[in-house]
Amino acid sequence: MEQTNFQLKQQKTQSNDWSARLHHATRATREDWLGKSISYLCIGVIILVVASMLWFITSKGIATFTQNHVSLGKFLTGTNWAPDQGKIGALPMIVGSFAVTFAAAIVATPFAVGTAIFMTEISPNKGRKLLQPVIELLVGIPSVVYGFIGLAVVVPFMRSIVGGSGFGIISATFVLFVMVLPTITSMTVDSLRAVPRHFKEASLALGATRWQTVSRVILRSATPGILTAVIFGMARAFGEALAVQMVIGNAAIMPKNLISPASTLTSQLTTGIGDTIDGTLPNNALWSLALILLLMSLFFNALVRVIAKRGQLKHER
């Protein structure tokens, strides 16, 4: 009661001076200012994290070349990885990473597109009730569990079929195939759903069968989206560390075939970074591998953008 009286009095005195009141910030303005600062601060934190991540890893990654004076060409094309002896050819890991990534994408894409077609065109009902949860569960399984199953099932299986140790690119491909499958599938589903309905109706009205409609109209017009999905899957495969590390065998030698132990950038990083001393060549060399991972991740990002832009142009025309 007292307070409201006080406020009233205050208002009365204030109302005498309209110009002062109008030029004064209201409570809402101050609130807005506060809210704005909070949200700017939060976004600032994220930008700071991204910037410092890029900066730290880049500056660590180029130390191999600036401090240890290893030539970039030798680093990228050398096939001998023995950092203790000063030999740091990263090609085995680069080849390993690209091999498992492409192999997993090639195997997974037909499965993903097939599943997506089923979910959108053949049986949307079953797709929603049965396959949507299946995809979500596959995404939810942690990567160490994939690695463990790879180690317990895939590796012995490969060993019994082709002999050798069972560790290698093909086992890693198997594991990554299952891991990228849900990523590619769910994004393909989105892009198939985005195809305008009248495209499909026009095709069916011309007497085309379902498969003709799917293969010549729907898939064709969803191609940019499907490509984006595949690239996202590849980015995931390229950056996956533990599951791959558990099944690939971690031998830093040029992979001669798909069934002998090999290694990837991520597997070399996870096994090596704890055993090296900060600032030494073996340590710097590992950071250079991390830099390659970072640059590849940026590259995949850029690729997605280019494709999205191209796809837009096509649709507008």
Binding site: I43, G114, I117, G140, V144, F148
Partner: protein, 295 residues
Amino acid sequence: MNAKRTDFLATVIIDLIVAAVVGILIFLLAYILISGLPHVTWNFLTGTTDAFSGAGGIGVQLFNSFYLLVLTMLISIPISLGAGIYLAEYAKDNWRTSLIRSAIEVLSSLPSVVVGLFGFLLFVVKFKIGFSVISGAIALTFFNLPLLTRNIEESLSAVSRNQREAGLSLGLSKWKTEIGIILPVALPGIVTGIVLSAGRVFGEAAALIYTAGQSAPVTNFADWNPMDAASPLNPFRPAETLAVHIWKVNTEGLATNAAQLSAAASAVLIIAVLLFNLGARLLGNFLYRRVTASK
């Protein structure tokens, strides 16, 4: 006739593909649960690990996983909430916003091992905090922020414009409108996103190996003072989580029953993640009904 036969063939092939995908999931779940569950006993869930061989129970790891999850969420939810509100409400459609969006995109597409290494570099090497709960929680926050931010932004933007205009026309500030009107409406979507990301955080290991560390010192569960070295709540002790434990048992462990141990630990991990997924759905639906008053 030919076209029809092709159509039939294609349908059969797609059906087979779908059967294979479903089969893979069933096999994965069945394998883990059948080979793991028989070994999940009360002793296993609460026992301590033998530091040398990695054999024994997973009590400390299980606690660490949950503790890290809680800390990560405590740090990342406020930040991503603020960032999400910025993007949904304050961000103008200009080059600066698109730069911010690309930065978030970049962060979300970075491999988790790179995020972990950054955390290692920052906290363990530069700040010399060592392998600790707090280093791990912040690394997981980096990993979690972009997804959570995007989820919150999408949930906020999905709220009808009318609600915004109604709030503003009542003379409320933008901030008050966002917090008092838009946020409650968007809450079901946000909560679902948070619980789903909790599942992801719970199973993450690559970002933790070099931040939270690979050892789980036996802690004294009777001591709940966060400042004590032996307390489970002490944020500066190393904390191997369940996911990291599975990795370690399989790659470096000397336990003779490594396969059994990791099957059991995987089963626990999978069940936890499944519960998170299920919980996300139920909680989202429940909140949706509460907020929208629809049956």
